[in-house]
Symmetry: C2
Subunit: 436 residues, 2 copies
């Protein structure tokens, strides 16, 4: 059978990794796919800069549109990233009736709805396994492997930089800023770390997983994001003492009111497997009503792990090339006409447990004030840890774990406690999940 | 579009779970599959015994062949188990041009080669996700999700009963026989626990995973199996002290000499995620050359977790009903004409590290004898733990961890050490894997 001809857009880290994997494992891959996969052309805007892969026998250009418009090419592999030129190229490829494989989470999370609609119209597939959690086949697991289930929730460590920072803070007692600087030096974190540490990157990935889990349109702009930059060494240690690790989680949960879509630091019981996912590794827990909790773990970034997902998508498309488009796996797991517009809940409506650190003056009556306010807001306390006064400040940290409460009540309680004369600092709050 | 009509053979635990999941989640499932899935008929040899699922609107019979021969039925779901009648029914279903979904690991591991050849000839699919690790979509992950990779090795906790026993032994200091009796009372273990604790069940599953990972025919009869019944409480504790957990692993590894296929108790460093998979849960680590190590975790047995995998297979087949058979995912991941007859290595050729417990008399010169024998067999010692003499016996347990060595050398060394006058007991040996 004739080889399938592909064109690669972007020869950066992932693009070079994809070329390397396709060349090195070409026999293994075609033994699986049933036919060869040939990289006919590749485009990169900086052809003069050195590349880390063997580009022999590949027709190179700096004009990506010429690849997209090449009638010989059947599959376009978009590895440029971002939502500018990448979007135009993908749209043009679809218009030209080509299948698309992409690792671009921002593009899918922000423009997936229109891209999928166009792809549907043209009878082509957009595959995006590499957009979420790198080499972990999590899209396939949720979309196909768990197709029997009503997915109840999913929760993931889906940003390696953030997990590296939190792991170092816990294992070595270091501070956020210090570890971030190292991560930047090591190349884990970008010069502008906002996307990683403030949860935007994780929210892109979470948005995509939530859509395929619950059968809802992509709604990135409704995701709640809270970063890890405010997590202090003392919070890490108090959490530890209480039996928890702090992880930066993306959480999507279906409730009777709607869908929760939120990225924030989270206390997780240490005994959970996901609490022990360390360093730059990623993991996602998916809870289905039939299967119960399942977990998927692996490298969430890097040249070859991401290339692994890109190439798996290429093989899937090759296998389905002759399939009637109606019978292919739908982009968002559910048939396009049966996506539901379930509302995304605002954070004030979300119910979670909390870790609170309240620094108060060491005076009688403080705890009575706090517990009275909690009681008025229907907040039940699960555990209290009161520490010795800190010498220099004369304040006492009170650590509290609460039972689940709706966030608006917690907001109100915190506002009232912060208004007390005896409370001089802003209260630190971190949400908790049992993930059981 | 018309519903797809299926027939279920066997209404035991998994059969009833499958009916329940298909009925409860029918809307969710058809939103994904694009069409309804209708259980037209079901067969069970004990129709009079009470069933745990709603059988309303299903045509029941005690003649399974009448279901297999029903021209209206497109997919046969075999949930009887074993290699007797189940094999005849599956063969007949294929002959009749029907697709088959099965949870039957023994059937696939022992007769898969002939069944797949017949299915290939008839242009139908045999799907068997539920045969390995229950609800974890591990077949899909290896076969499709990691299609870009040369798989280097995989290692799994793939028998829940065995893992429950080892977890209880470690956490509660209990003995093997004691926990086994409880597992039988709880219904985790069969009255005849041989299949579970001696590694036969795990070897069935390992055989299947190895074939799809390496592209080799199914060769169950060449798998090495060693059970956990000889593991003592003191071994569990010494392992703990040295930083390891003991797990019953199925391991498949590709080396330059051939393929290793082995089930045995294994020491794993505690820091590995899989070392922390406890109770009846299953997990599989798969190492690909591009993606690195990935891990898949979930319930490995039980009515609804297994049904989750059965139904996912049904949805896959429904989606591919109109596909040209040539373009479907091959049964063993690789195209049938490109399976390779890579030899399965005998255990004497396998290279691993070892944990050894040698009970010797407390006399001078013993350690010198042992280390001389090791040296002659090219065995390097990584760590030694020498304990106080045990009062009643006057013997000293010496615990040793070795560096990797070929098993035949270790066999020879153990034979020589056991022949020493000062060594009164058989040496306990447990293989070690770093799984890094």
């Amino acid at each position: 059978m004739q080889s399938v001809k592909i064109g690669i857009l972007g020869l950066g880290t992932v693009g070079s990794g994809t070329v390397s994997v396709l060349k090195r494992n070409s026999k293994e891959i075609s033994r699986r796919a049933g036919r060869g996969i040939e990289i006919l052309r590749a485009a990169d805007k900086n052809l003069d800069s050195p590349k880390t892969c063997d580009l022999n026998a590949i027709d190179l250009t700096d004009d990506a549109f010429s690849v997209v418009n090449d009638p010989e090419i059947q599959i376009i592999v978009e590895l440029i990233g971002g939502t500018g030129i990448a979007r135009d190229l993908v749209m043009q490829a679809i218009e030209n009736g080509k299948h698309v494989v992409t690792a671009n989470k921002a593009l899918i999370a922000m423009h997936g709805n229109e891209l999928f609609a166009k792809a549907q119209e043209k009878g082509v597939t957009i595959a995006f396994e590499a957009a979420v959690a790198g080499g972990i086949p999590i899209i396939k697991a949720i979309r196909e492997g768990l197709a029997a289930n009503r997915i109840e929730w999913l929760a993931g460590i889906i940003n390696g930089t953030g997990n590296f920072i939190l792991t170092e803070m816990r294992d070595k007692g270091r501070n956020f800023a210090d570890v971030l600087a190292e991560a930047q030096a090591l190349g884990y974190a970008e010069a502008d770390p906002t996307f990683d540490v403030e949860g935007i990157d994780a929210a892109h990935k979470l948005t995509i997983m939530a859509s395929i889990a619950f059968g809802i349109p992509l709604q990135f702009y409704k995701a709640y994001t809270e970063g890890i930059s405010k997590i202090s060494q003392e919070d890490v240690q108090y959490a530890e003492e209480l039996g928890y690790h702090i992880k930066h989680l993306g959480i999507a949960k279906k409730t009777s009111q709607g869908v929760e879509l939120r990225v924030h630091p989270t206390l997780i019981p240490k005994r959970r497997l996901i609490a022990n996912v360390n360093g730059v590794m990623n993991a996602v827990v998916v809870k289905g009503d039939a299967v119960g909790p399942t977990l998927y773990y692996g490298a969430g970034a890097g040249a070859e792990p991401t290339a692994s997902a890109v190439v798996a998508d290429i093989v899937d498309i090759v296998r389905a090339l002759t399939t009637d488009p109606e019978n292919r796996v739908p982009h968002l797991a559910f048939q396009p006409d049966s996506l539901k517009d379930t509302p995304i809940l605002s954070m004030s409506e979300v119910v979670t447990s909390y870790y609170l650190r309240i620094n108060t003056e060491d005076k009688p009556g403080v705890l009575a004030d706090i517990t009275r306010i909690f009681s008025e807001q229907d907040i039940n306390i699960e555990a209290i840890l009161q520490k010795q006064p800190e010498e220099e400040e004369g304040t006492v940290p009170i650590i509290m774990l609460t039972q689940p409460v709706v966030e608006k009540n917690m907001d109100e309680a915190i506002a009232q406690i912060e208004a007390l004369d005896t409370v001089k600092h802003a209260i630190m709050r971190i949400r908790m999940e049992s993930l059981g």
